[in-house]
């Protein structure tokens, strides 16, 4: 049972980076940690690997407490963000390294290394040095080195961040299909939330001090527990309006503090908000829930329509980002790239208020869950 348990993990240098973190990753689970750069994701991996010593806390792998073990005694394998391939050794030797450490017989080493090389499609390159292969191939070599080690937990530190989009896509597919990864626990670190949503069985959003929310892709995206989580996931970023809640004609509305924009609060949300006595909130609505209403188009009830003027239009291939101004506030919407909008053009946007989030302006907590 190769379950990974982290209990009360604490680590800090000039300030606390990981504060009392608890996490359990099941055997066979692909757990993705996503968060901004420098927040401590790599530190978490290094703590599990044994390359850093925690100030407090325990790490338990498969029932054994490995917290006090040095890294060379832990059944852990890690791919480094910089690949950390041995420059003076060939690709073959790089992959064979963990097996040579265990002093396995030559024949077995050769067989296992070639198996992995073939699996990752780098078997033609095994005699080359790391300096002579491309980024994607270096990546696969590093991955091969961890696969061959047959550990009880895989740690993958931003393995495909530095590769171009096409190769990233290829390798993502590989992560989905690799059998070996499915046998043990995996922790995958990335700052790209799209990658996280695609690969992760569960996603942990990491903020200052530790994991802010853990859940499935759907949960963290559709039900963010804090403003931080909502802001961090999504491209383009979620619209956040600093609002004051007030009642007008018995209906709860959100008044943007910095402009004259007011938005109605959907029924379902209103009840909970009234119960919690909320007043100062951060109103969040994702760009995908704001659509352009063409002239004469029918509008369903849940959509709140506003008149805007276009301030920026960015066609990006399959979709387009539209930034518009209304009543003094700027909001971002998604639209199709086929129709081009001119700056200053007047358009109507429909806001699906049922998909709005309400976060407490002080604590950031999602008030309507």
């Amino acid at each position: 049972m190769a379950q990974l348990q982290i209990e009360g993990l604490c680590k800090g240098w000039d300030f606390p980076v990981i504060d009392q973190m608890n996490l359990t990753v099941e055997e066979g689970e692909f757990f993705v940690v996503v968060g901004p750069s420098g927040i401590g994701k790599t530190t978490l991996l290094r703590l599990i690997a044994g390359l850093e010593s925690p100030n407090e806390g325990r790490i338990i792998l498969g029932g054994n407490d490995i917290s006090r073990l040095p890294p060379y005694k832990r059944p852990v394998a890690m791919t480094f963000e910089s690949y950390a391939l041995y420059p003076h050794l060939s690709v073959f030797e790089n992959i064979a390294s963990p097996l040579r450490a265990r002093r396995l017989p030559k024949r077995e080493i050769e067989q296992r290394v070639m198996d992995v090389a073939r699996l990752l499609k780098i078997d033609q390159l095994i005699t080359r040095r790391p300096a002579e292969v491309s980024g994607g191939q270096k990546q696969r070599t590093a991955l091969g080195r961890t696969l061959v080690a047959d550990p009880e937990v895989f740690l993958l530190d931003e393995p495909i961040s530095h590769l171009d989009a096409k190769i990233r896509h290829e390798l993502r597919a590989q992560f989905h299909t690799l059998e070996a990864l499915r046998r043990v626990a995996n922790i995958y670190v990335t700052h790209d939330y799209a990658e996280a949503l695609s690969l992760g069985d569960r996603i942990g959003v990491m903020g200052q001090g530790g994991l802010v929310q853990v859940g499935t892709a759907h949960e963290v995206f559709e039900k963010p527990q804090t403003l931080f989580v909502a802001e961090h996931l999504g491209q383009p970023s979620i619209n956040i309006l600093d609002c004051e809640l007030s009642t007008e004609d018995g209906v709860l509305i959100a008044c943007h503090r910095e402009s004259s924009l007011t938005l109605p609060v959907a029924q379902a949300h209103a009840q909970q908000l009234k119960r919690g006595n909320a007043s100062h909130v951060s109103y969040g609505i994702r760009p995908q829930y704001i659509t352009v209403i063409a002239d004469g188009e029918a509008v369903c009830d849940s959509l709140h329509v506003v008149d805007c003027t276009v301030s920026l239009f960015e066609p990006l291939g399959t979709y387009a980002i539209l930034m518009a101004e209304t009543a003094g506030a700027t909001i971002t919407a998604l639209s199709s790239p086929e129709h081009r909008y001119e700056q200053g053009e007047s358009i109507r946007l429909g806001i699906d208020t049922a998909e709005a989030f309400f976060f407490d302006a002080v604590t950031g907590k999602n008030l309507v869950l």
Binding site: C10, G12, F15, P16, D19, Q20, M21, N22, L23, G50, L51, E52, S53, N55, E56, P70, P71, G204, V205, M206, G207, Q208, G209, G210, L211, V212, Q213, V214, G215, Q225, T226, L227, F228, V229, V362, T363, G364, K365
Partner: protein, 328 residues
């Protein structure tokens, strides 16, 4: 589900640090066994202790006694407080040698660094072909490879007043009309200094050359695009960036200069009439030839202490200057 901290990740800064953070030790925690660094540094330190600490203690001990070689073998010596140290500061011969040392350092070490730097930079900017640079560099570094003692002897031979080849060249080229007495009382120190310059200029040269070679090309290209004149490039770009390297070259040269007495030994034996003596040479003579161990110990300790203090001060000053430069 993991522990959720609504405050964390919201950008809201915790004003108070958690307890475990405040209690933690400040230094970096080790990930390998504690014994690894200890055993690694243990062996060298032990060796050094044996061959350095022991002599140091020995010297200190005898600096406070009136030991001579005779009394050493008979273990008969008396405690004389600071007599030996007092001697250091009052002995005329020694003080003379200190004056010589200053002259030697200024026209030796300092000049070597300046000359070496100039040549290194010249080599870099004027010689365009790499192979030529290498050839010239090797030729210029040859003096460094020779034993100082042998260099001294060769220069002794070359500077022989009555039939030395140097005098011959000077006369042939018309720079002088008569043979120069290189080993008279007024010139003996200069002869040693010339031999020294000849031999050791290539050390700062090598160091500054290596430093210059490792400066990023992009800055120079940018300067060229900006149309900066060569003088400006030199004074505003090259020299400031090489400050640290030049300083280190100077320290290395300084550390060696005041303790190498090989040349004095073979060229002039300190003479004639003590005109080319340096402090360390005197310590040497008094201790080994005249057997005044205690007195020599006094000299050695003072010399070492002064040098150590100077180098430390210089390093501290250098660090400060570099920090300011790094910030600016």
């Amino acid at each position: 589900m993991a522990a959720v901290d609504p405050k964390a990740g919201g950008g809201a800064q915790t004003s108070e640090f958690p307890e475990w953070f405040l209690k933690k030790k400040r230094e970096r925690l080790l990930i390998v066994s504690r014994w690894v660094p200890i055993s690694l540094i243990g062996l060298p330190v032990l060796v050094l202790l044996a061959i350095v600490i022991y002599p140091t203690i020995w010297m200190f001990f005898h600096a406070f006694h009136n030991t001579t070689l005779m009394s050493l073998t008979r273990d008969r010596y008396q405690f004389v407080w600071f007599d030996n140290f007092e001697n250091v500061f009052t002995n005329e011969r020694f003080l003379n040698s200190v004056v010589n040392l200053v002259q030697y350092l200024v026209f030796g070490a300092v000049l070597e660094v300046i000359l070496g730097t100039a040549i290194a930079l010249m080599l870099f900017s004027v010689v365009k072909w790499n192979w030529m640079r290498t050839v010239l560099l090797i030729c210029m570094v040859v003096p460094l490879m020779l034993p100082p003692a042998m260099t001294g002897l060769i220069w002794l031979l070359m500077l022989t007043p009555h039939n030395g080849i140097i005098n011959e060249i000077l006369i042939i080229t018309g720079l002088t009309t008569e043979k120069i007495e290189w080993f008279s009382t007024s010139l003996s120190l200069w002869s040693i200094t010339f031999a020294d310059i000849w031999q050791w200029t290539s050390l700062p040269l090598l160091i500054v050359y290596a430093g210059r070679a490792s400066l990023p090309q992009s800055i120079y290209e940018a300067a060229r695009v900006d149309g900066a004149s060569r003088w400006k490039v030199l004074s505003r770009i090259t020299l400031p960036m090489l400050k640290e390297v030049i300083a280190i070259a100077f320290i290395i040269r300084f550390m060696d200069a005041y303790k190498y007495v090989d040349k004095i030994y073979v060229m002039t034996s300190g003479g004639p009439a003590e005109s080319s003596e340096l402090p360390v040479y005197i310590a040497y003579q008094r201790g080994i030839r005249d057997f005044q161990v205690g007195e020599a110990a006094g000299y050695a300790i003072v010399i070492f202490a002064v040098a150590a203090v100077l180098v430390t001060l210089f390093l501290k000053y250098l660090k400060k200057v570099l920090k300011a430069q790094a910030i600016a």
